[in-house]
Subunit: 114 residues, 4 copies
Amino acid sequence: MTGVSGKESVSLDLLRQKMRDFAKERGWEPYHTPRNLLLALVGEMGELSEIFQWKGEVERGLPNWKEEEKVHLGEELSDVLLYLIQLSDSCDIDLGQVALRKLQLNAVKYPVNK
Amino acid sequence: MTGVSGKESVSLDLLRQKMRDFAKERGWEPYHTPRNLLLALVGEMGELSEIFQWKGEVERGLPNWKEEEKVHLGEELSDVLLYLIQLSDSCDIDLGQVALRKLQLNAVKYPVNK
Amino acid sequence: MTGVSGKESVSLDLLRQKMRDFAKERGWEPYHTPRNLLLALVGEMGELSEIFQWKGEVERGLPNWKEEEKVHLGEELSDVLLYLIQLSDSCDIDLGQVALRKLQLNAVKYPVNK
Amino acid sequence: MTGVSGKESVSLDLLRQKMRDFAKERGWEPYHTPRNLLLALVGEMGELSEIFQWKGEVERGLPNWKEEEKVHLGEELSDVLLYLIQLSDSCDIDLGQVALRKLQLNAVKYPVNK
């Protein structure tokens, strides 16, 4: 699974399993109903937006951001992802599979102009 | 990569590459600035919320939902994921790696009670 | 209540009453629980964001927008407001009064530098 | 403007003027571009959602909530309202007037069944 870069390829299945274990070990499963997780996700979207709120337009790659700002941003992006995975799981939806399917639908909906 | 189930393990890297190719083929890259993608993500979060808005509390696994509602839900969950991946990419942040790191931070922040 | 401009001064109490009447006449009250209305509000926030999503930075006053875009924007801003008023009402919170109080708190939190 | 209850009827115009003065006194006007305010609004929507996120379904009127929770909720509802008013103002849109118009459109769109 690891290559020359030493980085693990991170699959949605891996993250889902880690989130399941995490919730189980802490007894949090009863709280993880679909609408609870959806509202938690909206909460994290808000925290993500706050990072960008007073900045005006932002350049791709964030060349002018401080390292600590980028670290913070990475944490908020992660929180959105992790709740999204948990929400999908609570709805018995395989996020990776539906995302692949959606990409195919998008390719049909927006054909490449030649 | 495929097992007995015939399902591909979907990695964040794979989806990121597919989104990059998709945007490039359509000439959409100039629009994919961080704040544009963030607002698109908020837009998709809204569409996701609309699916749940008049339903009252919803059971785990969605036992009473129609198949077409679940398909629609899968599409909206996918849209959120795909814009989240693009937003991360536009910020030069490796979403899979920061998510793994966030899981480690969460494990420290919320220790398992023994 | 009307002045030379012919414009009615619109109070939050007026809008709340109109929304109450509207829901009652249509038998929608059973659906107007706090979390249902909250998710509807998030849905409208998404529609509002979509108007701005591919535009890059936008000038104050929207000098370059078409009239129909501004009309559409006004409708989405209204939808957010109307659900916010209904959500407050469903929680038995007087939105106008708490907003006045919040302004006072903000003035203390962010004193004017002299 | 005040009745037996001693409560001021709070108009959207009043709150808009107070927000204008507030921003002007603090020199915050340069930051109050439409997209900055929109993202701030999304941030506040997130904080509002967090109040409801682990609660399961919530009864109208919040009969089981502590006083301090209701005070906190009032503050977050206010923050959403105040940024919504500022966003509208930055777009040169009269929120009260467009909301009245939207109510008329809604009445046409959703006629009362007789």
